[in-house]
Symmetry: C2
Subunit: 262 residues, 2 copies
Amino acid sequence: MATIGESEFDRATRLIDGVGQIVDGWDVGGNANGGYLLAMAARGMAAEAGRPHPITVTGHYLAPGRPGPVTLDAEVVRAGRRFATVRATLQGAGGAILEVLGSFGDLDGLRGGFSHVHGSPPPLDPPASCVELAAGAPALMSKLDVRVRPGDVGFGVGRPSGVAEVAGWFGFADGRPVDPLALLLVSDAMPPAVFNLDLRPGWVPTVELTVHVRAVPAPGPLRCVFRTRFVQHGCLEEDGEVWDSTGELVAQSRQLGLLPRG
Amino acid sequence: MATIGESEFDRATRLIDGVGQIVDGWDVGGNANGGYLLAMAARGMAAEAGRPHPITVTGHYLAPGRPGPVTLDAEVVRAGRRFATVRATLQGAGGAILEVLGSFGDLDGLRGGFSHVHGSPPPLDPPASCVELAAGAPALMSKLDVRVRPGDVGFGVGRPSGVAEVAGWFGFADGRPVDPLALLLVSDAMPPAVFNLDLRPGWVPTVELTVHVRAVPAPGPLRCVFRTRFVQHGCLEEDGEVWDSTGELVAQSRQLGLLPRG
């Protein structure tokens, strides 16, 4: 079991003096996964701010990320008592890849208080009864232990469910626990929900991805659900919820993407 | 009827060489409304990028905005074929108020293509049968023509509905049409949905607000609904949908806020 700090994810998101590496294998069809890139940037931003956790982070995707060296320029815009706000640019060899704005803080210090939860984790059969995305799937899946609800993967064999929803279990292949930073990756790690509509699957370029990290996940696999409610004028939104093993919501995400281009 | 360019909203968001004014009256309890500030910043960012419309804009709120002069520093991060990405800081006399990251483009150029809509405008009685927020309400309401669903305003008399939802009609008091820029204001213009829970109403500071503008609104009043599903650990999310008079979704919003402090 890999530990936080000593895992594939940690090695692939490490920045030393603002210099890191897009590591081969965290991609979908050659383009680095958007959640992976966001996590790498947020890791550097949290370090710059001296705060342990991302609270709300937004990335705008400027160009595909290819394996190779990257640099992160991060600037603390304001350091408040509760949160620090940071903006950053992730640059690759060919120019800017990702522009990020985020607020960082300490989730442990926010614990408790009034609670209201209107929702629940998606109903899922045990991981062993779900579909492992591995052979023939995007390279990214070799780093993860993602198990998708059987009814949500028909798009892979030309039988989309007709409902723009994908739910499943998330863990790392090497057993690394999911911490708040990794929730940024989780929020972009499942096949696009829109694949289950009557559209030809293809790359769904993300314009913008925002993740709210709401709590530190308890140990164990996470239950995730992603839904697309509005596809209009070439754009779509995808909303995600990530729940931990105790049934607490730990992250909410929303992205604006472009319709699959075959 | 005020027109776009010659209305109270236009005068209150105008920037000349990056210098503008937070105009008194666009506030809630002395603090400038967050959607108003986001619209002012986005107006300057769109101009900087030479693109007509905000597509997805995220603001992080750093300090309350008080009436007086402000400056906007906007920088185009990338100008692509479809979108231009811009980051900006809105500064007041006391320092930075708002940090913004957005992508801008031309909604008219995106029209058409595959469509999938899972949802519908909130059911609302005609505006005349809804509750006008005017006398005794926040100053902001004098600039707007907001009519809230009668069942959603009980919090004002100590009878919250128990459902964290507020729906209503939106227009400008001076009759200005709602364009894509104004949708940023719309997304923060209703009383917080969380007021309808069993909490003492108070100021709900916004940490971050993201708005996706999905289409140019058709003429006529807009139907809006805002819901809070998750209040945990001192934070809450509020999700908004804005629909135009033809029944098209024109904006989606989400904000992360802090629990009301009395």
